[in-house]
């Protein structure tokens, strides 16, 4: 039985909130704005907990990188059924410039340190719509343009979760109480041997261009004419 699953959970601005750019264009407004767990991370946690309930894995560890507040996100994962949490402390300027490169290095270092057989993350790249564990291999069904593809991979492995993988559970009240007693360990990126220097520099943040109203045309000839006008054909 695979021992350990690592799940990455990211604290992001709640998906229902309207995002506003800061007046100085250096970023988006985060102060006082409602944050929650990235919905795709919720799906990742749900999958990990289901694997544990099916007794295919022994332990689910939830990981988040960021300042003190990410502990809330880790606690939510614990309330959904994760066994313990790891908070990688990153704050201030380091947090502002924390990007995918650094996070992936951190997760890789943690996966080695914790001897995780499987890392499940919210979607990017390959997305799984079904995950089962078969002996020491993982069977993943992923959605591709042409249909569904079934692949078998060796562990340790990284799988990312797509919308159709599952419907995340609501934490039950007893689990919320139990989550309080579960441990969240703190660790610094330096301890994992990860350098947080960013290779990217944010020059400016802007709102996306406002959507223009569409134009209705009467005939196909008009449509062709308009497209030529706009330089599209």
């Amino acid at each position: 039985m695979a021992a350990r699953v690592l799940v990455g959970v990211k604290r992001v601005i709640d998906y229902a909130v309207k995002i506003r750019v800061k007046p100085d264009n250096t970023g988006v407004v985060t102060d006082g704005v409602k944050h929650s767990m990235n919905p795709f991370c919720e799906i990742a946690v749900e999958e990990a907990v289901r694997l544990k309930e099916k007794k295919l894995v022994k332990e689910v560890v939830a990981v988040s990188c960021g300042p003190q507040q990410v502990q809330e996100t880790i606690r939510t994962a614990l309330a959904m059924g994760a066994d313990r949490g790891i908070h990688v402390e990153v704050s201030g300027k380091d947090y502002d410039t924390l990007g995918p490169l650094q996070v992936s290095k951190i997760l890789a270092a943690l996966a080695k340190k914790e001897e995780a057989s499987l890392v499940i993350l919210g979607k990017q790249g390959t997305f799984a719509s079904e995950v089962t564990i078969d002996g020491d291999k993982i069977k993943v069904i992923r959605e591709i343009d042409g249909g569904l593809e079934t692949i078998k991979i060796n562990m340790p492995a990284v799988v990312t979760a797509d919308l159709r993988l599952n419907t995340p559970r609501y934490a039950t009240l007893p689990n919320i109480m139990k989550a309080k007693k579960k441990k969240i360990a703190s660790v610094k990126p330096g301890e994992l041997g990860v350098d947080l220097t960013s290779r990217l520099e944010v020059l400016r943040v802007e709102e996306p261009a406002q959507r223009q109203a569409g134009v209705k045309v009467e005939t196909v000839e008009d449509l062709v004419g308009k497209l030529k006008e706009a330089g599209r054909i």
Binding site: E72, R75, Y170, A171, T172, L173, P174, I176
Partner: protein, 406 residues
Amino acid sequence: MSALIKARKAVGLAVGCGARSLTQLAELPELHQMMRQTCRDYADRELAPIAAQLDKSHTFPAKQVRELGAMGVMAVEVPESLGGAGMDYLAYSLAIEELSRGCASTGVIASVNNSLYLGPVLKFGSEEQKQQWIPPFTTGEKVGCFALSEPGNGSDAGAASTVARQDGGEWVLNGTKAWITNCWDASASVVFATTDKSLKHKGISAFLVPMPHPGLSLGKKEDKLGIRASSTANIILEDCRVPLGNLLGERGMGFKIAMQTLDSGRIGIASQALGIAQAALDCAADYAHKRTAFGAPIAKMQAIQFKLADMAVALESARLLTWKASMLRDAKKPFSKEAAMAKLAASEAATFCSHQAIQVLGGMGYVTDMPAERHYRDARITEIYEGTSEIQRLVIANQVLKEYQQ
């Protein structure tokens, strides 16, 4: 002089529910914040989108009730050993408020099950009764109801005319109960009947009656103004026989059981009213930002701002009263006065906020396209059931006068 000392003692009692509790009024503990957020997420995603349809079709939200049962929300205070969530009344109040913000009917269904059915069984039931009558009602598969009111008496609970007589190894119940919430969807009821009319209110006893059951039939579902997804009807008892072991508490204890149960139930209804008021405020404030008139969003106009301010104050005041009543109950201190104040304040806040919300929305507030009209209809009952506002005032006045006893 002695009156002043007694009054100070009363204030001292009220304030002294613990420094920890007072801080809770300013900011909820992390555990409570988490469960409040969970209930809010559930209400936003699963209840709010269907609330209008449930209201229109008068449909009991069976699936949602089962899901809430699985989350532990249908039995918040029941210990884990009996299948509940084992949390405190403050957590319960937060849960009902959040649910009601999404759907007021679902809020009352959960509140009646928690406070009016599970409450008295938990408090007054024998070990055997608790094992039999609690666990199936914690999962959301079954809900319970509370049968006190009759066609002839609501506020005058002591004048029960439903009778119960002993016949061998059974109690035989006869009479009619009115306005019973959940009854068409319930699997059990706490029924109040008089076992000795000459003793007046001291002759009333409480009985556990399974549903359906021979001798128990239901009247037609009332066609209500609001909370239409919950069923309300008469319960008719005609030689309804239950074993002697179904007596809850002792013979003649019924009135006391009813009054104590309603004290707690008031916190549940206050919470429901808070949810409705909050939903109304959310609707109005959101609309005020978007609707333009006279060249600007109406949120810029003082007339609208003053309404929103008054709504917010009424709501927050009622909420603090409700939290305080919950915290006093959790600290096992007397809480009747505070519970009555909470229910009175919250129900009046709900009708005030929903009334003003329609006013802010103008014509849009009057049509079913927006939820304001449903909040208005849902709010109205909160001033009536589980003790009318008039009864609440009597309870409060009674307590206040006691503090100044000559």
